[in-house]
Symmetry: C2
Subunit: 408 residues, 2 copies
Amino acid sequence: MACYVQKFGGTSVGSLERIQQVAHLIDRTCRDGHQLVVVLSAMSGETNRLTKMAKELSVAPDDREMDVLLSSGERVTIALMAMMLKSLGIKARSFTGRQVGIVTDGAHTRARISRVDTKRVQAALRDGVVPIVAGFQGINEASDVTTLGRGGSDLTAVVLAAALKADTCFIYTDVDGIYTADPHMVPSARRLEKISYEEMLELASLGARVLQTRSVELAAKHQVPVEVRSSFQDGPGTRVVKEDADMEQVLVSGVTGDCNQAKVTVVGVPDQPGIAAKIFGAIAESAINVDMIIQNVSQDSLTDISFTVPRGDLNPAISLVKDLAKAVGARTVEINETIAKVSLVGVGMRSHSGVAARMFATLSRDGINIMMISTSEIKISCVVEEKYMELAVRGLHKEFGLEKSATV
Amino acid sequence: MACYVQKFGGTSVGSLERIQQVAHLIDRTCRDGHQLVVVLSAMSGETNRLTKMAKELSVAPDDREMDVLLSSGERVTIALMAMMLKSLGIKARSFTGRQVGIVTDGAHTRARISRVDTKRVQAALRDGVVPIVAGFQGINEASDVTTLGRGGSDLTAVVLAAALKADTCFIYTDVDGIYTADPHMVPSARRLEKISYEEMLELASLGARVLQTRSVELAAKHQVPVEVRSSFQDGPGTRVVKEDADMEQVLVSGVTGDCNQAKVTVVGVPDQPGIAAKIFGAIAESAINVDMIIQNVSQDSLTDISFTVPRGDLNPAISLVKDLAKAVGARTVEINETIAKVSLVGVGMRSHSGVAARMFATLSRDGINIMMISTSEIKISCVVEEKYMELAVRGLHKEFGLEKSATV
């Protein structure tokens, strides 16, 4: 008898028909004799509906009350799912974040889990009951509801899988796994049978929305096997597991393109120690998310500093940087909103050299100018003009042989 | 400094505009320097929306899960109201049923409150915070959410008012008080300035939906002054208070008409001891709500037994009674679905005789036949043909001088 956690996202429980289909999927897993914990998100659209109401009533809705408001969404899905399963003859019982024992810190709307007390869930499992758990929510030490931030239901699922030492944590969503590239961009993109935690982490932070970043970190830390699957069709998905020898043979696992980026350049900065620290210190204090940073070689004791930010952070970044530029005596600030970041990810890069050179050559061959470069151990990113993003992704996908299942 | 509880029903918080208007009403009370606890229902329509979903997924939705589902509605309104008030500069904080310390028995969907622990609410009040409380819900000893049944938010408000020894429990609704008759039926109906707990209890059990019956019982027990007011317009409402000398001067306080009634007659029942007990014992076991019972004088050792039930209970009652009639050797069962119950209520009846005779004479004068009669200390009810209900109510309203504010 295996122990599984199955998490279903908002689109998977987005309508009564979907809830019925998922109930039958859960039913099948139970009939196979496995222990099962189910984690649910709110119905898709519900979080937006509630947030819209809050914003109409208050310009800056209170964080504690936002958590009370948003946590109502999962209560609806867990109750509906539990009653549906009971009517199918399954011993199911809903559990709120509090009842499932998820205790967090006090940071409302983006709380971090501090501990998990699975006493009630384990008692339920011993009684043959299927716990239907509200994802995304917990309770702080003051006994107030907290939420775990965007994608928090993934975190709930992985945390429970780790605490229960589950055999696999299944993340059911509206796609059937992780692809070598976004299939909308690259029709020949191929579903990966497996991927390492590290690669998944890079992909998640590059904007692949399939798995929340923190949940991947946690799965890696506790070595929880995760499998991303589709709740809309049967069949295997992508397993997210510990790196193995097979994976190292593959040079590149995936190519991503992210056009939610903007570039800010501070032109003519005096080349003195401490200036960059001053600029990026102030930006970090404003909670603006800086991704890549480039500083040119200085000429005449002046240098240019460029960095990228998500487009949503651009306006606050501009006004902040203009003030900073004036304060440090820089010449001017230039903005480029039409850029994109193209990245290669693969643990194979650790043991193979020449990937970066091949990437640059491929882009160059297609006439694509590289504006910025950043690398990590298993990732290379280039900033290019936005209009070239799809061309770049398709070219790289082909160059590294990702449409075939063979290694390069 | 007075301490008030203000309860707002579903229509009072049925839209974002309504929530804003109620927030301003709360704001005014706070500015007058009073301690205030606010109790909210779910937005009108929300309970129906959720119940409809549950019934589509399950023929008989599980009670425990219905409570998890329905209790989400008040979480939305308390969170929205608290954030709206905070944006107006009021220190407000939402409290769920659990957080407000309402502990109930385990009877899901119709739980009874077993105790109230107002520690957190009192701490909030001491800190100058306005608690915004989810009505209708509590938590049982197993730490599961329970709900208090239809109108349960009234109960939450009265229970908190009693526990906090509040000066008044205001029930804000979509009408501005209790009327001498339903104004839709009797345009000359007059709002009562005050009414006794006992009269209110009779009116509530006669189907006046303004206050939930159990909440009136509890208010009477703890002598909590209640005032029913409109949240849609300013001005006084109806105070529900201890009976006083003024009230005894008034013969009749109100006239009601209830056409949600049906009559069942078991014809030709053998007139033997124990037969009625057998019939009504079985009906009570089926949780069918019998109101009035009449047994005719027997002829030839046979008698007829009639009783009334709410129309919603008629179908189960018919099939049950047909079996019972056969079992006890009765001749047949007759059904009348077109009846109505017309009632007079007033504490003045205790000290004045002749009210019943005057009621019967009034109905007779209008050519209305009386089919059944039942009386209590402060109430007289007559069952008449449904088509005469409004005529009867209007005639009695006039006969007892209710359109004028003078005593009779």
